[in-house]
């Protein structure tokens, strides 16, 4: 891991004017960030900053411009109160790091480092999760299409999948598009002569290997 450098990054500090706000801004400037401070504020837009600090004591629904989760940029919660209601609201914003009041000369650099690190990690994992989700959906669709082929053409699972793959290669279409066509009743592979060997679909779906 390289030593984190935040030079030139844009920081937006959503915190009422007090010693904490001043301490955060001062530290950020020392670290080479471009700092802007706003309070009162509502619907703070993500595109104006690379990282946002927000006051968890006075935060409210509508403080940020975006809705839903996860947030589009690293957030750093600045906490004073430990009242569960405040913690509950803060957690709902999904901050990437936390900073404690009173803010002194230490803490801001660590919070920034943690925030960018955990935000990047979260992004990577989120992308990975999305890829897996798409793949799962695709596989489920192909298996449903294979089941249709098995029933309609009286073939086993291996043969049904072979027919799908064959058609996918022939037409140069992704496998799930072929699956879509079958499920929509727009295409069915021609009946094959092969006899079903065993009801292998269940074994296949639960991760069992075909005995060929």
């Amino acid at each position: 891991m390289t030593i984190p450098n935040f030079r030139g990054r844009r920081a937006l500090v959503l915190h009422r004017e007090d010693r904490n706000q001043a301490a955060i801004a001062e530290q950020l400037e020392k670290l080479g960030l471009q700092v802007r401070v706003r309070w009162p504020v509502a619907k703070a837009p993500a595109h104006e900053a690379d990282v946002m600090f927000f006051d968890s004591d006075l935060g409210f629904d509508g403080l940020f411009a975006w809705t839903g989760s996860p947030p589009p940029l690293p957030l750093i919660a600045v906490l004073g109160s430990e009242a569960p209601g405040r913690i509950e609201w803060t957690l709902a914003q999904e901050p990437a790091a936390y900073l404690w009041k009173p803010v002194g000369s230490t803490g801001v650099f660590t919070a920034l480092s943690i925030a960018f690190h955990s935000f990047a990690l979260r992004e990577t994992r989120e992308a990975q999760r999305r890829r897996l989700e798409v793949r799962l959906e695709r596989e489920a669709l192909v298996l449903r299409a294979a089941a249709v082929v098995m029933t309609r053409q009286g073939v086993d699972a291996d043969e049904a999948l072979r027919l799908l793959r064959h058609e996918s290669m022939r037409r140069r279409l992704p496998l799930e598009i072929v699956g879509d066509l079958i499920l929509a009743g727009k295409w069915l592979p021609p009946a094959s002569n092969r006899k079903p060997r065993r009801p292998a679909l269940v074994a296949r779906m639960s991760g069992g290997r075909s005995t060929g």
């Binding site: 109160s81 009242a83 569960p84 209601g85 509950e88 009041k101 009173p102």
Partner: protein, 403 residues
């Protein structure tokens, strides 16, 4: 003791807002402190007197921090009595901890804090909102309308309420917030009346709260006075505030408090008499005045016991002090620096007093983080058994036995 021989003078900071939107309460607190200061000065057994440095932050949060830091920087002040709102307390704690001073904080609050440099003499949430809801759910029903000032006191009490009410199968009909200091409450009142709650839970403070009680009474049919109305409940309503509301509008509401002027004990009668003699015959005492008085007397007793005003020695000594306060016995829990206090419920009267309708049998251990509070223990005691009689609470009961 040597250091204190010869009527030594011990400087003490007193930081209350006697101007600004919650000045009524700030004045009560200051009065409580002044009464205690004079009692200490007049009691030769103490062997010292306090030299107060009084500041008024006028309800402005940042000013609390400035005033406190300014006084502590002098170097000779170790004890600060003051603050009312949680934001004001949070504002001074960094300075208090930096200078290793002791803040004597005399207000009920929403809990979820415990600083080694703060002695909390007001009620913790298990001593104010929990007993109130226990009573209201049993006596009135579980359809609740919440209205409060838009800050942490209201937010957190409403969160606790929501949890308790929902576990009891009840409904929070609405949760309305008014900016601190605003008296624009008309639309909230119309909404509250139209939703027909079993009771209203009010966490408004200062002028907002008084305006709410007045407008609420004005919005009722003339036949609906006093007990005929849906009651407004509160964990902060006090006697002087009833006078600020004025007349019939102040009557028939329910307050949870560890102190009422009408508590019938010799110690309280003395307190009330002295308070009136000092501040005027028409003056009423309150929980805020009592907690402030208690804070200073506890501090004085601790200094007398250890012979020093050093923070570490005073803190150790105060844990061993037991005070027969106007409300009853009060002492500090070394586990969290909050006070053992006796919760009570009162119904307000037009003359500015409360009729006490329920009072705990003994002082209750403070539970600022509601660690020992089981939300399922409320509202299930309709057969008359008290929560502490249940087997699961035996351990807790042992912890509550007075020293």
């Amino acid at each position: 003791m040597a250091a204190l021989v010869g009527r030594a003078s011990i400087p003490m900071a007193v930081v209350f807002s006697t101007s600004g939107s919650y000045r009524t309460v700030g004045q009560e607190m200051l009065n409580g402190v002044l009464l205690a200061l004079e009692e200490v000065a007049d009691t030769s057994a103490f062997g010292f007197r306090f030299e107060p440095i009084i500041r008024d932050p006028a309800g402005e949060t940042a000013a609390y921090g400035r005033e406190c830091e300014d006084i502590l920087r002098r170097g000779d002040v170790r004890h600060v009595v003051g603050c009312y709102t949680s934001s004001s307390r949070k504002e001074v704690i960094p300075s208090i901890e930096k200078f290793d001073a002791l803040l004597w904080y005399p207000s009920h609050y929403e809990g979820f804090e415990s600083s080694g440099n703060v002695i909390y003499t007001g009620a913790s949430p298990n001593q104010h909102i929990v007993p109130l809801l226990q009573y209201m759910l049993r006596e009135r029903g579980n359809r609740v309308y919440c209205v409060g000032s838009n800050y942490i006191w209201a937010w957190e009490n409403n969160r606790i309420l929501r949890e308790i009410v929902q576990v009891n199968g009840g409904t929070v009909l609405s949760e309305k917030y008014v900016p601190v200091g605003s008296t624009d409450v008309g639309s909230v009142i119309r909404d509250a009346l139209s939703k027909r709650p079993d009771f209203i839970f009010n966490t408004l403070i200062g002028e907002s709260s008084y305006a709410f009680y007045r407008a609420y009474a004005a919005a009722q049919a003339p036949s609906r006075s006093g007990s005929g109305r849906v009651p407004i409940t509160s964990c902060s309503l006090s006697e002087p505030e009833l006078l600020s509301i004025g007349g019939a509008a102040a009557a028939g509401h329910i307050a949870s408090s560890v102190y009422f002027q009408s508590i019938d004990r010799p110690q309280n009668r003395t307190f009330v008499t002295r308070y009136r003699a000092r501040f005027g015959e028409a003056k009423l005492t309150s929980a805020d005045a009592e907690a402030s008085y208690v804070a200073v007397i506890l501090l004085a007793n601790a200094i007398r016991a250890c012979g020093s005003s050093r923070v570490d020695e005073v803190r150790r000594a105060v844990y061993a002090c037991r005070l027969d306060a106007p409300q009853g016995p009060v002492w500090i829990d070394p586990e969290n620096n909050h006070s053992f206090l006796t919760p009570a419920l009162g119904v307000s009267r037009a003359d500015g007093d409360f009729d006490v309708v329920w009072r705990a049998e003994q002082p209750m251990k403070p539970d600022p983080y509601l660690v020992w509070f089981d939300v399922n223990s409320i509202g299930r005691n309709r057969d008359g058994a008290s929560g502490t009689d249940r087997a699961g609470d035996r351990v807790r009961r042992l912890r509550e036995v007075p020293k």
